[in-house]
């Protein structure tokens, strides 16, 4: 037993032999595939507001999910009790999906060693409680010191230590330890009765020391505090955004939420197996401008969206989705891949043991192009420049997507001028991506804050892109 097996299975009288036996029992029905997913997590969070530490919480979760697949059918049951009885009960319920009758044999477990994108560490123990509290206070002090118009500061810190074990009838037997930390600063600024909020933060699959690392001569946590204040002050003087169709220049990094919404979801295997995506049946066709090469990459070191293994035990991979505008492939989990005669791409992810895995993104980004970001701005006569976004949404069938700016400016005669209020941008994914006319040489990734929701399941993801220009998009301003 390794450490993860000890943590998940110790005290439960469950061992590898019992897992094998449970999967065997499920194959007494006409089951093509079955898996057992054990998960345990410890999660802490701290929140400072009005200069005091108001909230602290500690949450423990553990359980097992059992899935049986027969053709296109999936049976699923789970329990928050990790015990032989609960495991067999869940297995019996899940295999009820299939008729009785032996279908095959399970494969012998193959313990694989995978390349580690992040380390097996416990972030909760990486900083003393006193120093966690100090971190919150220091951030607040730093934010308030930026500008006297800062009236309120909220700082939140959270850390998760999660272990998983997945055992499947195809011989998969894998464990993973998944640390995740997140720090955020949100401020309210007030001037002449006008108020605005700004927030900034980051995170990674590592421990709390990440926030103290120095980048460009400054510790990350101080940078978050400064960014939050800067964005709030920019919005305080923002003028109304324009309404109508304009050229849009998206900044590098977090605006990659564009790719996540306009392209990413539409390339998830389940929608394409069902033929319900605007990108269905278009492999080999040109679906974006030739300037676009878009990848989903679970292998970036310590990134929020990275996976050593996905939730089906498949190692994280670097997958090219679109190359020079041509659609190359979809993101797959085991179930959808096998129904489409393909292989999993390491994108089978789930929120927890109590949720079914689905094809999901990891870190999705566009590779750098050749344009100087300054030239991209210069090329626009009248349009908007949007370096920060609040989030987005997509209808994968019609391809319509939105995302909402949280920091944006007018571009007038090739110059960035007035800040404009937050506005929603709307477009059709396939059309908008064909209108990408310039791609910058400044690829960067987001700061580690992405959360993706699909069918009610939330998971951490990453996005990124270079500065890029879309010739025309609809801007939901008021002027």
């Amino acid at each position: 037993m390794n450490n993860v097996e000890r943590e998940l299975l110790a005290d439960s009288q469950i061992d590898e032999a019992l897992l094998s036996k449970t999967l065997d029992s499920m194959f007494l029905h006409k089951v093509d595939f079955a898996d057992l997913y054990f998960q345990a997590s410890r999660h802490e969070s701290w929140m400072l507001e009005d200069g005091i530490v108001k909230e602290g919480s500690y949450n423990i979760e553990r359980g097992v999910g059992v899935r049986a697949i027969s053709g296109e059918k999936t049976g699923f049951a789970y329990s928050d009790d990790i015990s032989p009885i609960a495991l067999q009960k869940a297995a019996d319920a899940a295999m009820g999906i299939a008729n009785a009758g032996v279908s095959g044999k399970i494969k012998v477990f193959n313990r694989q060693t995978v390349c580690k994108q992040y380390q097996a560490i416990d972030p909760l123990a990486s900083l003393s409680q006193e120093n966690k509290i100090n971190l919150l206070h220091e951030m607040e002090t730093h934010a308030r010191a930026q500008d006297k118009r800062v009236k309120q500061v909220i700082v939140s810190l959270s850390g998760v230590y999660e272990t998983i074990l997945v055992a499947a009838s195809d011989g998969t037997y894998s464990t993973d330890v998944r640390p995740l930390v997140r720090l955020n600063c949100s401020v309210l600024v007030e001037d002449n009765g006008e108020r605005e909020r700004g927030s900034s933060g980051g995170g990674a699959r590592t421990d709390y020391s990440y926030f103290f690392e120095v980048e460009n001569d400054q510790a990350r946590f101080l940078k978050y505090a400064e960014e939050a204040v800067r964005i709030a002050l920019v919005n305080l003087v923002a003028i109304d955004a324009p309404a109508g169709m304009f050229p849009v220049v998206l900044g590098s990094g977090w605006p990659g939420v564009l790719l996540h919404e306009a392209v990413g979801h539409g390339l998830e295997g389940d929608f394409n197996r069902k033929g319900s995506s605007a990108f269905s049946g278009k492999i080999g066709q040109q679906v974006t401008s030739q300037l676009c090469t878009i990848v989903d990459d679970g292998t970036l070191v310590n990134r929020r969206g990275s996976v050593n293994i996905d939730d089906e035990g498949t190692p994280g991979q670097y997958n090219i989705l679109i190359e020079n505008g041509i659609l190359k492939g979809y993101m797959q989990d085991k179930h959808n891949a096998s129904l489409m005669g393909l292989k999993s791409t390491g994108n089978g992810r789930r929120e927890s043991y109590a949720h079914l895995p689905m094809p999901r993104m990891t870190n999705t980004y566009m590779l750098a192009g050749e344009s100087d970001p300054k030239d991209i701005i210069k090329s626009v006569k009248k349009g908007i420049y949007a370096p920060n976004f609040a989030g987005g949404q997509v209808d994968i069938t019609s391809g319509k997507f939105v995302f909402t700016s949280s920091e944006a400016y007018l571009i007038e005669d090739g110059e960035i001028t007035s800040p404009i209020k937050g506005a929603t941008l709307i477009g059709s994914g396939p059309q908008a991506m064909k209108q990408v006319s310039m791609v910058g040489n400044d690829l960067s990734l987001d700061m580690g804050v992405g959360v993706c929701g699909k069918d009610g399941q939330s998971i951490p993801v990453g996005v990124g892109q270079p500065t890029l220009k879309i010739d025309e998009m609809t801007i939901g301003g008021t002027q």
Binding site: V53, Y78, L188, R195, G392, T474, T478
Partner: protein, 451 residues
């Protein structure tokens, strides 16, 4: 399901656990403690293109505890209810309270406001449904959708879900209350295509009582009607026009209002409705009443998540804001008394008087005249600090009271203060599937961005 598994038995056992947890918290040095636990179990079945896609047996629940010690607060939660896990969880909460700060506004709700003997709201109507029955109903729903029109070319499936569960809440002021509830739903998502255009839309029904669900075939047909009506949508010109929010999305407008009058945003000065109490925020004709005790309703509750008794309230009378929505904490921060809104609102009834009582959906379209009927909103473009509103929208262009053509890929924008004041009429086509019962809403003018 055996008798020992029944929800009522589980509820009684959890009450005992909660009482024990409160004792343990005291013995570990907490001055005060509160514990809540909810559990939900059920069956969810998806069918697609006439075949079963997933059968899922759900079983979720967790116990959360908050302790107060010397004015400091600590919280913890666990799904494992064994004695060992419980005491570890409580110890974790007590440990956290050593590091949080003294906050004079925190603490249990005031004792005199607690629901010590809450009334029964008739929310528990479990349905013993076999997997086969559930599959049959989902199939029936999808079949009627698929056969509705030849342009229905694909399906994202139909889902039948039935859940039963309970909530238990206790605190060291001697309150220990709980109630069981049930929830059943049926939904259907269809895909239609014509030429290069492909669209999706859905229909659903939800009820505490299984027999309260709409007919499966009706839901299937509704889903198909909805999606067919969206085919061949166009963008419209960028301009200011009258906008009507159809009843099924009209609740979102009041959702933003809820967030603006919630104590948490008010004491943080993060609302565009600061100091609006007693002032006109909607036109004279609008009244919003809260009725938390409607039998079998989806948002009914005899007490809020702090155990505070809920009561009938007038939220908006003749356009004036009559109350904020407060928890014990936000009330203390604002020097007020809690309104029993920890955890959210409880059944809002929106009504309009006089000419603004706009009649049924068709009458509302006539009132709209020429403008934009919104049936779908996308994205989160709402800034509650200043009221700025900018969201993606789809729906229909209406000319002279008649639907002319479907519209998509546009945004609607404005400021919520103006949108509230610009309300012209409320329809009688009330949607009761959520916590806000409202008909369609007609707004005099909003900016549409399109071509």
């Amino acid at each position: 399901m055996t008798e020992s598994d029944s929800i009522i038995n589980q509820l009684e056992q959890v009450k005992i656990r909660v009482a024990q947890a409160l004792d343990v918290a005291k013995s570990l040095g907490a001055d005060d403690a509160e514990v809540s636990m909810s559990r939900q179990q059920g069956l969810s079945v998806d069918t697609r293109l006439g075949e079963v896609e997933t059968v899922e047996f759900t079983n979720d629940g967790a116990l959360g505890i908050t302790v107060y010690k010397n004015g400091c607060k600590g919280s913890a939660s666990t799904a494992d209810l064994s004695e060992k896990a419980l005491s570890q969880t409580i110890q974790a909460a007590v440990n956290i309270a050593k590091y949080t700060s003294v906050d004079e506004c925190s603490g249990l709700a005031d004792k005199e406001l607690l629901a010590m003997n809450p009334i029964d709201l008739d929310l528990f109507h479990p349905k013993k449904l076999s997997t086969e029955q559930a599959i049959e109903m989902a199939k029936q729903c999808e079949d009627s959708a698929m056969s509705f029109d030849k342009r229905i070319t694909n399906s994202d499936g139909a889902t039948l879900a039935t859940f039963e569960g309970f909530k238990v809440y206790g605190n060291s002021n001697g309150q220990l209350v709980g109630y069981p509830s049930s929830r059943h739903s049926l939904s259907c998502v269809m895909i239609a295509s014509e030429g290069d255009d492909m669209q999706r839309d859905y229909a659903y029904t939800v009820s505490r009582e299984f027999d309260g669900l709409d007919d499966a075939e009706f839901i299937g047909q509704q889903a198909s009607k909805e999606v067919l009506s969206r085919l061949n949508a166009q963008k419209i010109q960028t301009k200011k026009v009258p906008v009507m929010f159809r009843a099924d999305i009209a609740n979102t407008v009041f959702g933003h209002f809820i967030s603006a009058i919630s104590g948490g945003n008010l004491y943080r000065k993060s609302s565009f409705l600061l100091d609006a109490l007693g002032k006109k925020v909607f036109p004279e004709f609008l009244t919003i009443n809260e009725r938390p005790h409607i039998a079998k309703a989806l948002a009914s509750s005899a007490f809020d998540s702090e155990g505070v008794i809920t009561q009938d309230r007038t939220i908006v009378a003749n356009g004036d804001l009559e109350t904020y929505l407060l928890t014990s904490y936000s009330a203390r921060k604002l020097g007020l008394t809690t309104t029993g809104h920890a955890g959210g609102i409880h059944n809002w009834l929106v009504s309009a008087s006089g000419d603004a009582d706009g009649g049924d959906f068709d009458a509302m379209l006539t009132k709209l005249g020429t403008g934009f009927l919104v049936t779908e909103l996308m994205g989160q473009g709402v800034n509650v600090v200043n009221g700025d509103y900018s969201r993606g929208a789809a729906g229909f262009w209406v000319e002279n009271g008649k639907i002319a053509f479907p519209v998509s890929e546009v945004t609607i924008s404005g400021n919520l203060k103006d949108i509230f004041k610009g309300l012209v009429a409320v329809g009688s086509d009330i949607d009761k599937r959520g916590s806000i019962f409202t008909g369609s809403l007609l707004i005099d003018s909003m900016q549409v961005s399109g071509n």
